[in-house]
Chain length 313, copies 2
Amino acid sequence: MKAIIGLDIGGTKVLGALYNEAGELLERGKKKTKANEGIDTVMGQVYKVIDGLLAFPEVEVTGIGVGVPGLVNQKGVVTFSPNIPFKDFDLADRIQKKYHLPVVVGNDVNVAMYGEFRHTESSYKNVLGLFIGTGIGGAIIIDEKLYIGQGSAAEFGHMVVNADGAYCGCGAQGCLEAHASKTAIQKAITTQLHKGRKSMLADLLKEDGAVIKSSSLKKAFDESDPLAVEVMLKAARFLGIAVGTLINQFHPEAIIFGGGVIEAMGESFVDLVAREASQHAMPGLMETVDLKCATLGDDAGIFGAYQLAKATI
Amino acid sequence: MKAIIGLDIGGTKVLGALYNEAGELLERGKKKTKANEGIDTVMGQVYKVIDGLLAFPEVEVTGIGVGVPGLVNQKGVVTFSPNIPFKDFDLADRIQKKYHLPVVVGNDVNVAMYGEFRHTESSYKNVLGLFIGTGIGGAIIIDEKLYIGQGSAAEFGHMVVNADGAYCGCGAQGCLEAHASKTAIQKAITTQLHKGRKSMLADLLKEDGAVIKSSSLKKAFDESDPLAVEVMLKAARFLGIAVGTLINQFHPEAIIFGGGVIEAMGESFVDLVAREASQHAMPGLMETVDLKCATLGDDAGIFGAYQLAKATI
Protein backbone atom coordinates (compact mmCIF):
# COMPACT_ATOMS: atom_id res chain seq x y z
CA MET A 1 0.00 0.00 0.00
CA LYS A 2 1.33 3.43 -0.95
CA ALA A 3 1.39 6.19 1.63
CA ILE A 4 2.58 9.79 2.19
CA ILE A 5 3.95 11.46 5.32
CA GLY A 6 2.65 14.86 6.43
CA LEU A 7 4.79 16.85 8.90
CA ASP A 8 3.96 19.99 10.86
CA ILE A 9 7.09 21.48 12.40
CA GLY A 10 5.97 24.00 15.01
CA GLY A 11 7.82 26.14 17.53
CA THR A 12 7.15 23.69 20.38
CA LYS A 13 6.33 20.34 18.74
CA VAL A 14 6.85 18.34 15.58
CA LEU A 15 3.66 16.57 14.50
CA GLY A 16 3.63 13.86 11.86
CA ALA A 17 1.15 11.51 10.29
CA LEU A 18 1.07 8.76 7.69
CA TYR A 19 -1.82 8.81 5.21
CA ASN A 20 -2.74 6.19 2.64
CA GLU A 21 -3.81 7.07 -0.91
CA ALA A 22 -7.43 7.40 0.16
CA GLY A 23 -6.42 10.07 2.68
CA GLU A 24 -6.96 7.82 5.69
CA LEU A 25 -4.71 8.46 8.67
CA LEU A 26 -2.71 5.28 9.44
CA GLU A 27 -0.35 6.47 12.15
CA ARG A 28 0.68 9.55 14.12
CA GLY A 29 4.00 10.73 15.51
CA LYS A 30 4.97 13.59 17.87
CA LYS A 31 8.19 14.95 19.36
CA LYS A 32 9.23 18.17 21.06
CA THR A 33 10.89 20.58 18.61
CA LYS A 34 13.60 21.66 21.09
CA ALA A 35 14.01 24.83 19.02
CA ASN A 36 16.38 26.42 21.53
CA GLU A 37 18.87 23.53 21.25
CA GLY A 38 19.92 24.43 17.71
CA ILE A 39 19.37 23.22 14.21
CA ASP A 40 20.90 19.74 14.53
CA THR A 41 18.74 18.88 17.53
CA VAL A 42 15.63 20.11 15.71
CA MET A 43 16.46 18.02 12.67
CA GLY A 44 17.10 15.05 14.95
CA GLN A 45 13.58 15.43 16.34
CA VAL A 46 12.15 15.69 12.82
CA TYR A 47 14.00 12.51 11.79
CA LYS A 48 12.67 10.66 14.85
CA VAL A 49 9.10 11.47 13.82
CA ILE A 50 9.77 10.39 10.23
CA ASP A 51 11.55 7.19 11.32
CA GLY A 52 8.63 6.29 13.55
CA LEU A 53 6.18 6.66 10.68
CA LEU A 54 8.41 4.79 8.23
CA ALA A 55 8.34 1.82 10.62
CA PHE A 56 4.62 1.36 9.95
CA PRO A 57 4.27 -2.11 8.41
CA GLU A 58 3.37 -2.94 4.82
CA VAL A 59 3.36 0.53 3.30
CA GLU A 60 5.60 2.10 0.69
CA VAL A 61 6.10 5.79 1.51
CA THR A 62 6.24 7.79 -1.74
CA GLY A 63 6.80 11.32 -0.45
CA ILE A 64 6.94 13.75 2.45
CA GLY A 65 5.11 17.07 2.83
CA VAL A 66 6.21 19.60 5.43
CA GLY A 67 4.74 22.77 6.91
CA VAL A 68 7.06 25.10 8.80
CA PRO A 69 6.59 28.57 10.30
CA GLY A 70 8.34 31.36 8.41
CA LEU A 71 9.24 32.33 4.88
CA VAL A 72 9.74 29.42 2.52
CA ASN A 73 10.77 29.94 -1.08
CA GLN A 74 9.62 28.04 -4.16
CA LYS A 75 12.47 25.52 -3.78
CA GLY A 76 11.66 24.58 -0.20
CA VAL A 77 14.38 26.70 1.39
CA VAL A 78 13.33 28.24 4.71
CA THR A 79 14.76 31.75 4.36
CA PHE A 80 13.60 32.83 7.78
CA SER A 81 11.65 31.38 10.68
CA PRO A 82 10.53 33.41 13.72
CA ASN A 83 10.79 30.61 16.29
CA ILE A 84 12.92 27.80 14.84
CA PRO A 85 16.65 28.25 14.13
CA PHE A 86 16.23 27.90 10.33
CA LYS A 87 17.90 30.65 8.31
CA ASP A 88 18.38 30.14 4.56
CA PHE A 89 18.10 26.47 5.40
CA ASP A 90 17.39 24.02 2.58
CA LEU A 91 14.96 21.89 4.56
CA ALA A 92 13.53 20.07 1.52
CA ASP A 93 16.96 19.09 0.28
CA ARG A 94 18.11 17.95 3.74
CA ILE A 95 15.19 15.56 4.24
CA GLN A 96 15.29 14.42 0.60
CA LYS A 97 18.99 13.47 0.81
CA LYS A 98 18.49 11.51 4.02
CA TYR A 99 15.45 9.49 2.95
CA HIS A 100 15.77 9.51 -0.86
CA LEU A 101 12.14 10.54 -1.14
CA PRO A 102 10.56 13.55 -2.85
CA VAL A 103 9.91 16.34 -0.31
CA VAL A 104 7.81 19.48 -0.55
CA VAL A 105 8.00 22.26 2.06
CA GLY A 106 5.59 25.14 2.60
CA ASN A 107 4.75 27.84 5.09
CA ASP A 108 2.76 26.37 8.00
CA VAL A 109 -0.31 28.60 7.60
CA ASN A 110 -0.33 28.14 3.81
CA VAL A 111 -0.12 24.38 4.27
CA ALA A 112 -2.75 24.17 7.03
CA MET A 113 -5.26 26.30 5.11
CA TYR A 114 -4.61 24.21 2.02
CA GLY A 115 -5.49 21.20 4.17
CA GLU A 116 -8.74 22.90 5.21
CA PHE A 117 -9.49 23.62 1.55
CA ARG A 118 -8.91 19.99 0.57
CA HIS A 119 -11.06 18.88 3.48
CA THR A 120 -14.00 21.00 2.24
CA GLU A 121 -16.42 18.86 0.26
CA SER A 122 -17.13 21.22 -2.60
CA SER A 123 -16.37 22.17 -6.15
CA TYR A 124 -14.53 25.34 -5.11
CA LYS A 125 -11.63 26.28 -7.35
CA ASN A 126 -10.54 29.63 -5.93
CA VAL A 127 -10.46 29.93 -2.15
CA LEU A 128 -8.68 32.09 0.42
CA GLY A 129 -7.68 31.12 3.95
CA LEU A 130 -7.47 33.69 6.73
CA PHE A 131 -5.77 32.55 9.91
CA ILE A 132 -6.16 34.67 13.04
CA GLY A 133 -3.94 33.60 15.90
CA THR A 134 -0.99 35.20 17.69
CA GLY A 135 -0.26 36.66 14.26
CA ILE A 136 -2.37 36.73 11.11
CA GLY A 137 -1.56 34.69 8.03
CA GLY A 138 -3.35 33.29 5.07
CA ALA A 139 -3.39 31.13 2.01
CA ILE A 140 -4.36 31.61 -1.62
CA ILE A 141 -5.75 28.66 -3.53
CA ILE A 142 -6.19 29.34 -7.24
CA ASP A 143 -7.51 26.74 -9.62
CA GLU A 144 -7.32 24.26 -6.71
CA LYS A 145 -3.57 24.81 -6.30
CA LEU A 146 -1.72 26.57 -3.51
CA TYR A 147 -0.42 29.90 -4.89
CA ILE A 148 2.76 31.26 -3.29
CA GLY A 149 4.06 33.68 -5.95
CA GLN A 150 7.80 33.99 -5.48
CA GLY A 151 7.37 32.24 -2.14
CA SER A 152 5.88 34.69 0.35
CA ALA A 153 2.36 35.31 -0.98
CA ALA A 154 -0.75 35.44 1.21
CA GLU A 155 0.77 37.45 4.05
CA PHE A 156 -2.69 38.82 4.77
CA GLY A 157 -1.62 40.00 8.22
CA HIS A 158 0.43 42.62 6.40
CA MET A 159 -2.33 44.14 4.33
CA VAL A 160 -2.41 47.83 5.24
CA VAL A 161 -5.99 48.52 6.27
CA ASN A 162 -5.48 51.64 8.36
CA ALA A 163 -2.82 53.94 6.90
CA ASP A 164 -2.53 56.10 10.02
CA GLY A 165 -3.15 53.25 12.46
CA ALA A 166 -1.02 51.15 14.77
CA TYR A 167 2.56 50.13 14.04
CA CYS A 168 3.18 46.46 13.36
CA GLY A 169 5.94 44.09 14.44
CA CYS A 170 7.04 43.99 10.81
CA GLY A 171 8.00 47.66 10.97
CA ALA A 172 5.14 49.02 8.87
CA GLN A 173 2.17 51.10 9.96
CA GLY A 174 -1.46 50.09 9.65
CA CYS A 175 -1.15 46.33 9.06
CA LEU A 176 -4.15 44.12 9.76
CA GLU A 177 -2.03 42.12 12.23
CA ALA A 178 -1.45 45.26 14.30
CA HIS A 179 -5.22 45.72 14.62
CA ALA A 180 -6.81 42.29 14.85
CA SER A 181 -4.34 39.55 15.85
CA LYS A 182 -4.42 38.06 19.33
CA THR A 183 -1.28 40.06 20.05
CA ALA A 184 -3.07 43.28 19.08
CA ILE A 185 -6.14 42.30 21.09
CA GLN A 186 -4.02 41.52 24.13
CA LYS A 187 -2.20 44.85 23.82
CA ALA A 188 -5.49 46.75 23.68
CA ILE A 189 -6.73 44.92 26.78
CA THR A 190 -3.62 45.39 28.90
CA THR A 191 -3.42 49.07 27.93
CA GLN A 192 -6.98 49.60 29.13
CA LEU A 193 -6.44 47.58 32.33
CA HIS A 194 -3.34 49.63 33.14
CA LYS A 195 -5.47 52.73 32.73
CA GLY A 196 -7.56 51.36 35.57
CA ARG A 197 -10.49 50.12 33.51
CA LYS A 198 -12.59 47.47 35.29
CA SER A 199 -13.09 44.20 33.44
CA MET A 200 -13.43 40.51 34.17
CA LEU A 201 -10.51 40.15 31.77
CA ALA A 202 -8.22 41.31 34.61
CA ASP A 203 -8.91 38.15 36.58
CA LEU A 204 -8.86 35.92 33.51
CA LEU A 205 -5.49 37.36 32.50
CA LYS A 206 -4.10 36.54 35.96
CA GLU A 207 -5.26 32.93 35.60
CA ASP A 208 -3.91 32.58 32.05
CA GLY A 209 -0.47 34.01 32.82
CA ALA A 210 1.32 36.48 30.57
CA VAL A 211 -0.79 35.80 27.48
CA ILE A 212 -4.57 35.76 27.56
CA LYS A 213 -6.21 32.63 26.20
CA SER A 214 -8.64 32.91 23.30
CA SER A 215 -11.13 30.96 25.41
CA SER A 216 -10.96 33.71 28.04
CA LEU A 217 -11.73 36.31 25.35
CA LYS A 218 -14.73 34.23 24.33
CA LYS A 219 -15.93 33.89 27.93
CA ALA A 220 -15.72 37.62 28.65
CA PHE A 221 -17.29 38.48 25.29
CA ASP A 222 -20.22 36.10 25.88
CA GLU A 223 -20.77 37.61 29.31
CA SER A 224 -20.91 41.06 27.68
CA ASP A 225 -17.91 42.38 29.54
CA PRO A 226 -17.75 45.94 28.12
CA LEU A 227 -13.99 45.94 27.52
CA ALA A 228 -14.05 42.50 25.86
CA VAL A 229 -16.96 43.54 23.63
CA GLU A 230 -15.27 46.80 22.66
CA VAL A 231 -11.94 45.19 21.82
CA MET A 232 -13.43 42.24 19.92
CA LEU A 233 -15.80 44.44 17.89
CA LYS A 234 -12.83 46.59 16.92
CA ALA A 235 -10.92 43.50 15.81
CA ALA A 236 -13.98 42.27 13.89
CA ARG A 237 -14.23 45.66 12.16
CA PHE A 238 -10.66 45.50 10.84
CA LEU A 239 -11.01 41.84 9.90
CA GLY A 240 -14.19 42.77 8.01
CA ILE A 241 -12.41 45.57 6.17
CA ALA A 242 -9.71 43.09 5.16
CA VAL A 243 -12.26 40.50 4.08
CA GLY A 244 -14.12 43.09 1.97
CA THR A 245 -10.82 44.03 0.34
CA LEU A 246 -9.95 40.38 -0.29
CA ILE A 247 -13.33 39.82 -1.95
CA ASN A 248 -12.81 42.84 -4.22
CA GLN A 249 -9.34 41.61 -5.09
CA PHE A 250 -9.87 37.86 -5.54
CA HIS A 251 -13.64 37.36 -5.93
CA PRO A 252 -13.14 33.84 -4.57
CA GLU A 253 -15.83 31.23 -4.08
CA ALA A 254 -15.07 30.94 -0.40
CA ILE A 255 -12.94 32.26 2.45
CA ILE A 256 -12.05 29.81 5.22
CA PHE A 257 -11.35 31.26 8.69
CA GLY A 258 -8.97 29.48 11.03
CA GLY A 259 -6.59 30.05 13.95
CA GLY A 260 -6.96 30.16 17.72
CA VAL A 261 -9.07 33.34 17.84
CA ILE A 262 -11.60 31.92 15.36
CA GLU A 263 -11.63 28.48 17.01
CA ALA A 264 -12.48 30.07 20.35
CA MET A 265 -14.85 32.81 19.18
CA GLY A 266 -16.77 30.62 16.74
CA GLU A 267 -19.18 31.30 13.90
CA SER A 268 -20.97 34.19 15.56
CA PHE A 269 -17.71 36.13 15.46
CA VAL A 270 -17.29 35.33 11.76
CA ASP A 271 -20.84 36.72 11.33
CA LEU A 272 -19.67 40.01 12.85
CA VAL A 273 -16.71 40.03 10.48
CA ALA A 274 -19.05 39.35 7.56
CA ARG A 275 -21.32 42.24 8.53
CA GLU A 276 -18.37 44.61 8.33
CA ALA A 277 -17.08 43.01 5.14
CA SER A 278 -20.42 43.56 3.39
CA GLN A 279 -19.91 47.30 3.79
CA HIS A 280 -16.64 47.11 1.89
CA ALA A 281 -17.21 44.44 -0.76
CA MET A 282 -18.38 45.92 -4.05
CA PRO A 283 -22.13 45.81 -4.75
CA GLY A 284 -23.31 42.28 -5.50
CA LEU A 285 -20.10 40.46 -4.55
CA MET A 286 -20.61 39.65 -0.86
CA GLU A 287 -23.47 37.22 -1.43
CA THR A 288 -21.41 35.26 -3.97
CA VAL A 289 -18.71 34.31 -1.44
CA ASP A 290 -19.11 31.58 1.22
CA LEU A 291 -17.49 32.31 4.59
CA LYS A 292 -16.56 29.13 6.45
CA CYS A 293 -14.83 28.12 9.64
CA ALA A 294 -11.91 25.71 9.60
CA THR A 295 -12.78 22.30 11.02
CA LEU A 296 -9.55 20.29 11.28
CA GLY A 297 -8.06 21.97 14.36
CA ASP A 298 -4.52 20.80 15.13
CA ASP A 299 -4.67 18.24 12.32
CA ALA A 300 -4.84 20.92 9.58
CA GLY A 301 -1.04 21.14 9.37
CA ILE A 302 -0.31 17.42 8.94
CA PHE A 303 -3.29 16.90 6.64
CA GLY A 304 -2.35 19.91 4.50
CA ALA A 305 1.27 18.73 4.31
CA TYR A 306 0.05 15.32 3.11
CA GLN A 307 -2.29 16.94 0.55
CA LEU A 308 0.45 19.27 -0.67
CA ALA A 309 2.84 16.36 -1.16
CA LYS A 310 0.11 14.39 -2.92
CA ALA A 311 -0.62 17.29 -5.31
CA THR A 312 3.01 18.18 -5.95
CA ILE A 313 4.99 14.98 -6.04
CA MET B 1 -3.52 33.33 -43.17
CA LYS B 2 -5.26 33.00 -39.82
CA ALA B 3 -6.08 36.11 -37.80
CA ILE B 4 -7.88 37.28 -34.63
CA ILE B 5 -9.89 40.44 -33.96
CA GLY B 6 -9.31 42.48 -30.81
CA LEU B 7 -12.04 44.95 -29.79
CA ASP B 8 -11.96 47.69 -27.15
CA ILE B 9 -15.47 49.00 -26.48
CA GLY B 10 -15.11 52.28 -24.60
CA GLY B 11 -17.58 54.87 -23.38
CA THR B 12 -16.90 57.15 -26.37
CA LYS B 13 -15.35 54.95 -29.08
CA VAL B 14 -15.12 51.38 -30.28
CA LEU B 15 -11.59 50.46 -31.31
CA GLY B 16 -10.80 47.32 -33.25
CA ALA B 17 -7.78 45.66 -34.82
CA LEU B 18 -6.94 42.57 -36.78
CA TYR B 19 -3.82 40.65 -35.77
CA ASN B 20 -2.16 37.74 -37.51
CA GLU B 21 -0.80 34.71 -35.66
CA ALA B 22 2.55 36.40 -35.17
CA GLY B 23 0.83 39.26 -33.35
CA GLU B 24 1.33 41.75 -36.18
CA LEU B 25 -1.37 44.38 -36.59
CA LEU B 26 -2.89 44.07 -40.09
CA GLU B 27 -5.75 46.56 -39.94
CA ARG B 28 -7.49 48.97 -37.58
CA GLY B 29 -11.12 50.03 -37.20
CA LYS B 30 -12.82 52.79 -35.17
CA LYS B 31 -16.39 54.01 -34.64
CA LYS B 32 -18.13 56.22 -32.10
CA THR B 33 -19.82 54.14 -29.38
CA LYS B 34 -22.98 56.34 -29.31
CA ALA B 35 -23.62 55.00 -25.80
CA ASN B 36 -26.52 57.40 -25.18
CA GLU B 37 -28.46 56.05 -28.19
CA GLY B 38 -29.17 52.70 -26.57
CA ILE B 39 -27.98 49.15 -26.79
CA ASP B 40 -28.98 48.41 -30.42
CA THR B 41 -27.13 51.45 -31.74
CA VAL B 42 -24.05 50.50 -29.69
CA MET B 43 -24.12 46.95 -31.07
CA GLY B 44 -24.57 48.37 -34.59
CA GLN B 45 -21.36 50.37 -34.11
CA VAL B 46 -19.55 47.29 -32.80
CA TYR B 47 -20.70 45.26 -35.81
CA LYS B 48 -19.50 48.00 -38.21
CA VAL B 49 -16.01 47.77 -36.71
CA ILE B 50 -16.03 43.95 -36.93
CA ASP B 51 -17.41 43.99 -40.52
CA GLY B 52 -14.70 46.42 -41.58
CA LEU B 53 -11.99 44.14 -40.18
CA LEU B 54 -13.55 40.98 -41.65
CA ALA B 55 -13.32 42.63 -45.10
CA PHE B 56 -9.52 42.48 -44.91
CA PRO B 57 -8.42 40.28 -47.82
CA GLU B 58 -6.99 36.77 -47.62
CA VAL B 59 -7.33 36.11 -43.90
CA GLU B 60 -9.42 33.62 -42.02
CA VAL B 61 -10.61 35.13 -38.74
CA THR B 62 -10.65 32.45 -36.04
CA GLY B 63 -11.94 34.39 -33.03
CA ILE B 64 -12.82 37.70 -31.43
CA GLY B 65 -11.61 39.12 -28.12
CA VAL B 66 -13.42 42.02 -26.46
CA GLY B 67 -12.69 44.41 -23.61
CA VAL B 68 -15.57 46.38 -22.12
CA PRO B 69 -15.84 48.69 -19.09
CA GLY B 70 -17.78 47.23 -16.17
CA LEU B 71 -18.37 43.92 -14.48
CA VAL B 72 -18.08 40.90 -16.76
CA ASN B 73 -18.74 37.40 -15.48
CA GLN B 74 -16.92 34.19 -16.40
CA LYS B 75 -19.34 33.53 -19.29
CA GLY B 76 -18.86 36.88 -20.99
CA VAL B 77 -22.08 38.44 -19.67
CA VAL B 78 -21.71 42.15 -18.89
CA THR B 79 -23.60 42.38 -15.61
CA PHE B 80 -23.11 46.12 -15.27
CA SER B 81 -21.31 48.89 -17.14
CA PRO B 82 -20.91 52.43 -15.78
CA ASN B 83 -21.04 54.22 -19.13
CA ILE B 84 -22.48 51.86 -21.75
CA PRO B 85 -26.12 50.66 -21.60
CA PHE B 86 -25.18 47.01 -20.97
CA LYS B 87 -27.00 45.43 -18.01
CA ASP B 88 -26.93 41.63 -17.64
CA PHE B 89 -26.16 41.64 -21.35
CA ASP B 90 -24.71 38.48 -22.91
CA LEU B 91 -22.25 40.30 -25.14
CA ALA B 92 -20.16 37.22 -25.95
CA ASP B 93 -23.20 35.22 -27.01
CA ARG B 94 -24.60 38.09 -29.13
CA ILE B 95 -21.40 38.51 -31.18
CA GLN B 96 -20.85 34.74 -31.36
CA LYS B 97 -24.34 34.11 -32.81
CA LYS B 98 -23.97 36.83 -35.43
CA TYR B 99 -20.53 35.84 -36.72
CA HIS B 100 -20.36 32.13 -35.79
CA LEU B 101 -16.94 32.69 -34.27
CA PRO B 102 -15.66 31.99 -30.76
CA VAL B 103 -15.79 35.16 -28.63
CA VAL B 104 -14.20 36.00 -25.28
CA VAL B 105 -15.17 39.10 -23.29
CA GLY B 106 -13.33 40.67 -20.36
CA ASN B 107 -13.27 43.82 -18.27
CA ASP B 108 -11.44 46.61 -20.15
CA VAL B 109 -8.75 47.21 -17.53
CA ASN B 110 -8.18 43.47 -17.03
CA VAL B 111 -7.83 43.03 -20.78
CA ALA B 112 -5.59 46.06 -21.33
CA MET B 113 -3.22 45.10 -18.50
CA TYR B 114 -3.12 41.54 -19.83
CA GLY B 115 -2.05 43.08 -23.14
CA GLU B 116 0.72 44.99 -21.36
CA PHE B 117 1.80 41.74 -19.67
CA ARG B 118 1.94 39.89 -22.99
CA HIS B 119 3.87 42.80 -24.50
CA THR B 120 6.56 42.53 -21.81
CA GLU B 121 9.51 40.53 -23.06
CA SER B 122 10.18 38.41 -20.03
CA SER B 123 9.72 35.10 -18.32
CA TYR B 124 7.29 36.53 -15.75
CA LYS B 125 4.58 34.13 -14.66
CA ASN B 126 2.80 36.08 -11.92
CA VAL B 127 2.21 39.76 -12.58
CA LEU B 128 -0.19 42.44 -11.36
CA GLY B 129 -1.46 45.45 -13.28
CA LEU B 130 -2.42 48.69 -11.52
CA PHE B 131 -4.31 51.19 -13.62
CA ILE B 132 -4.64 54.75 -12.28
CA GLY B 133 -7.01 56.91 -14.30
CA THR B 134 -10.37 58.52 -13.54
CA GLY B 135 -10.88 55.43 -11.42
CA ILE B 136 -8.43 52.76 -10.30
CA GLY B 137 -8.53 49.22 -11.62
CA GLY B 138 -6.18 46.34 -12.01
CA ALA B 139 -5.42 42.92 -13.33
CA ILE B 140 -4.10 39.69 -11.85
CA ILE B 141 -2.04 37.40 -14.04
CA ILE B 142 -1.26 34.06 -12.44
CA ASP B 143 0.74 31.38 -14.17
CA GLU B 144 0.60 33.59 -17.31
CA LYS B 145 -3.20 33.53 -17.34
CA LEU B 146 -5.65 36.32 -16.55
CA TYR B 147 -7.28 35.54 -13.19
CA ILE B 148 -10.82 36.88 -12.67
CA GLY B 149 -12.14 34.65 -9.87
CA GLN B 150 -15.91 34.57 -10.14
CA GLY B 151 -15.65 37.47 -12.58
CA SER B 152 -14.87 40.65 -10.66
CA ALA B 153 -11.38 40.06 -9.30
CA ALA B 154 -8.59 42.69 -9.33
CA GLU B 155 -10.75 45.63 -8.26
CA PHE B 156 -7.67 47.19 -6.71
CA GLY B 157 -9.36 50.60 -6.55
CA HIS B 158 -11.52 49.11 -3.84
CA MET B 159 -8.82 47.88 -1.52
CA VAL B 160 -9.42 49.61 1.81
CA VAL B 161 -6.14 51.32 2.68
CA ASN B 162 -7.41 53.95 5.10
CA ALA B 163 -10.20 52.64 7.33
CA ASP B 164 -11.21 56.09 8.61
CA GLY B 165 -10.46 57.89 5.34
CA ALA B 166 -12.50 59.31 2.48
CA TYR B 167 -15.76 57.80 1.25
CA CYS B 168 -15.69 56.22 -2.19
CA GLY B 169 -18.16 56.31 -5.08
CA CYS B 170 -18.76 52.59 -4.44
CA GLY B 171 -20.29 53.43 -1.06
CA ALA B 172 -17.47 52.17 1.12
CA GLN B 173 -15.03 54.15 3.22
CA GLY B 174 -11.27 54.23 2.78
CA CYS B 175 -10.90 52.75 -0.72
CA LEU B 176 -7.69 53.40 -2.64
CA GLU B 177 -9.76 54.98 -5.43
CA ALA B 178 -11.09 57.59 -2.99
CA HIS B 179 -7.50 58.60 -2.17
CA ALA B 180 -5.42 58.31 -5.32
CA SER B 181 -7.54 58.28 -8.50
CA LYS B 182 -7.66 61.29 -10.78
CA THR B 183 -11.15 61.95 -9.42
CA ALA B 184 -9.77 62.01 -5.86
CA ILE B 185 -6.84 64.21 -6.93
CA GLN B 186 -9.20 66.63 -8.69
CA LYS B 187 -11.46 66.77 -5.63
CA ALA B 188 -8.52 67.59 -3.36
CA ILE B 189 -7.41 70.35 -5.73
CA THR B 190 -10.79 72.01 -6.19
CA THR B 191 -11.45 71.89 -2.44
CA GLN B 192 -8.20 73.70 -1.78
CA LEU B 193 -8.81 76.25 -4.56
CA HIS B 194 -12.27 76.98 -3.16
CA LYS B 195 -10.62 77.63 0.18
CA GLY B 196 -8.72 80.42 -1.59
CA ARG B 197 -5.41 78.60 -1.90
CA LYS B 198 -3.15 80.04 -4.64
CA SER B 199 -1.90 77.60 -7.25
CA MET B 200 -1.07 77.53 -10.95
CA LEU B 201 -3.58 74.68 -11.06
CA ALA B 202 -6.37 77.31 -10.92
CA ASP B 203 -5.43 78.61 -14.39
CA LEU B 204 -4.76 75.13 -15.78
CA LEU B 205 -8.14 73.96 -14.55
CA LYS B 206 -9.82 76.89 -16.35
CA GLU B 207 -8.07 75.91 -19.60
CA ASP B 208 -8.87 72.20 -19.23
CA GLY B 209 -12.58 72.70 -18.49
CA ALA B 210 -14.45 70.84 -15.76
CA VAL B 211 -11.88 68.05 -15.40
CA ILE B 212 -8.17 68.72 -14.99
CA LYS B 213 -5.90 66.95 -17.48
CA SER B 214 -3.21 64.61 -16.19
CA SER B 215 -0.73 66.61 -18.27
CA SER B 216 -1.66 69.71 -16.28
CA LEU B 217 -0.98 67.85 -13.04
CA LYS B 218 2.43 66.87 -14.41
CA LYS B 219 3.21 70.45 -15.48
CA ALA B 220 2.31 71.93 -12.08
CA PHE B 221 4.15 69.15 -10.24
CA ASP B 222 7.30 69.66 -12.31
CA GLU B 223 7.19 73.39 -11.64
CA SER B 224 6.98 72.61 -7.90
CA ASP B 225 3.59 74.22 -7.46
CA PRO B 226 3.06 73.61 -3.70
CA LEU B 227 -0.55 72.43 -4.04
CA ALA B 228 0.26 70.09 -6.93
CA VAL B 229 3.22 68.63 -5.02
CA GLU B 230 1.17 68.17 -1.84
CA VAL B 231 -1.71 66.47 -3.59
CA MET B 232 0.43 64.21 -5.78
CA LEU B 233 2.67 63.14 -2.87
CA LYS B 234 -0.45 62.22 -0.94
CA ALA B 235 -1.72 60.16 -3.88
CA ALA B 236 1.72 58.51 -4.20
CA ARG B 237 1.65 57.67 -0.50
CA PHE B 238 -1.66 55.80 -0.76
CA LEU B 239 -0.62 54.11 -4.02
CA GLY B 240 2.58 53.01 -2.27
CA ILE B 241 0.62 51.59 0.66
CA ALA B 242 -1.52 49.63 -1.81
CA VAL B 243 1.54 48.41 -3.72
CA GLY B 244 3.21 47.27 -0.49
CA THR B 245 0.03 45.39 0.41
CA LEU B 246 -0.17 43.81 -3.05
CA ILE B 247 3.43 42.63 -2.77
CA ASN B 248 2.72 41.04 0.63
CA GLN B 249 -0.37 39.36 -0.77
CA PHE B 250 0.80 38.19 -4.19
CA HIS B 251 4.61 38.30 -4.10
CA PRO B 252 4.51 38.73 -7.89
CA GLU B 253 7.49 39.04 -10.19
CA ALA B 254 6.34 42.41 -11.47
CA ILE B 255 3.70 45.12 -11.16
CA ILE B 256 2.87 47.08 -14.30
CA PHE B 257 1.52 50.62 -13.84
CA GLY B 258 -0.82 52.10 -16.43
CA GLY B 259 -3.61 54.66 -16.90
CA GLY B 260 -3.73 58.38 -17.66
CA VAL B 261 -2.18 59.53 -14.38
CA ILE B 262 0.83 57.23 -14.82
CA GLU B 263 1.22 58.05 -18.52
CA ALA B 264 1.37 61.75 -17.72
CA MET B 265 3.41 61.63 -14.50
CA GLY B 266 5.94 59.09 -15.77
CA GLU B 267 8.53 56.89 -14.13
CA SER B 268 9.65 59.42 -11.54
CA PHE B 269 6.14 59.24 -10.03
CA VAL B 270 6.33 55.44 -9.94
CA ASP B 271 9.64 55.89 -8.07
CA LEU B 272 7.78 57.92 -5.42
CA VAL B 273 5.18 55.17 -5.18
CA ALA B 274 7.95 52.57 -4.85
CA ARG B 275 9.59 54.52 -2.03
CA GLU B 276 6.35 54.39 -0.06
CA ALA B 277 5.73 50.75 -0.98
CA SER B 278 9.12 49.73 0.39
CA GLN B 279 7.99 50.89 3.83
CA HIS B 280 5.05 48.49 3.71
CA ALA B 281 6.36 45.44 1.86
CA MET B 282 7.68 42.78 4.24
CA PRO B 283 11.44 42.67 4.78
CA GLY B 284 13.26 41.34 1.72
CA LEU B 285 10.30 41.34 -0.67
CA MET B 286 10.44 44.80 -2.29
CA GLU B 287 13.70 44.14 -4.11
CA THR B 288 12.33 40.94 -5.65
CA VAL B 289 9.50 42.73 -7.51
CA ASP B 290 9.99 44.74 -10.74
CA LEU B 291 7.88 47.89 -11.06
CA LYS B 292 7.24 48.81 -14.70
CA CYS B 293 5.31 51.41 -16.67
CA ALA B 294 2.83 50.37 -19.34
CA THR B 295 4.04 51.07 -22.85
CA LEU B 296 1.17 50.36 -25.25
CA GLY B 297 -0.96 53.46 -24.59
CA ASP B 298 -4.34 53.35 -26.36
CA ASP B 299 -3.41 50.09 -28.11
CA ALA B 300 -3.33 48.11 -24.84
CA GLY B 301 -7.06 47.34 -25.06
CA ILE B 302 -7.13 45.95 -28.60
CA PHE B 303 -3.82 44.11 -28.16
CA GLY B 304 -4.98 42.61 -24.86
CA ALA B 305 -8.31 41.55 -26.40
CA TYR B 306 -6.40 39.83 -29.22
CA GLN B 307 -4.06 38.11 -26.74
CA LEU B 308 -6.95 37.02 -24.54
CA ALA B 309 -8.76 35.50 -27.51
CA LYS B 310 -5.54 33.81 -28.62
CA ALA B 311 -5.00 32.29 -25.17
CA THR B 312 -8.61 31.28 -24.60
CA ILE B 313 -10.02 30.15 -27.92
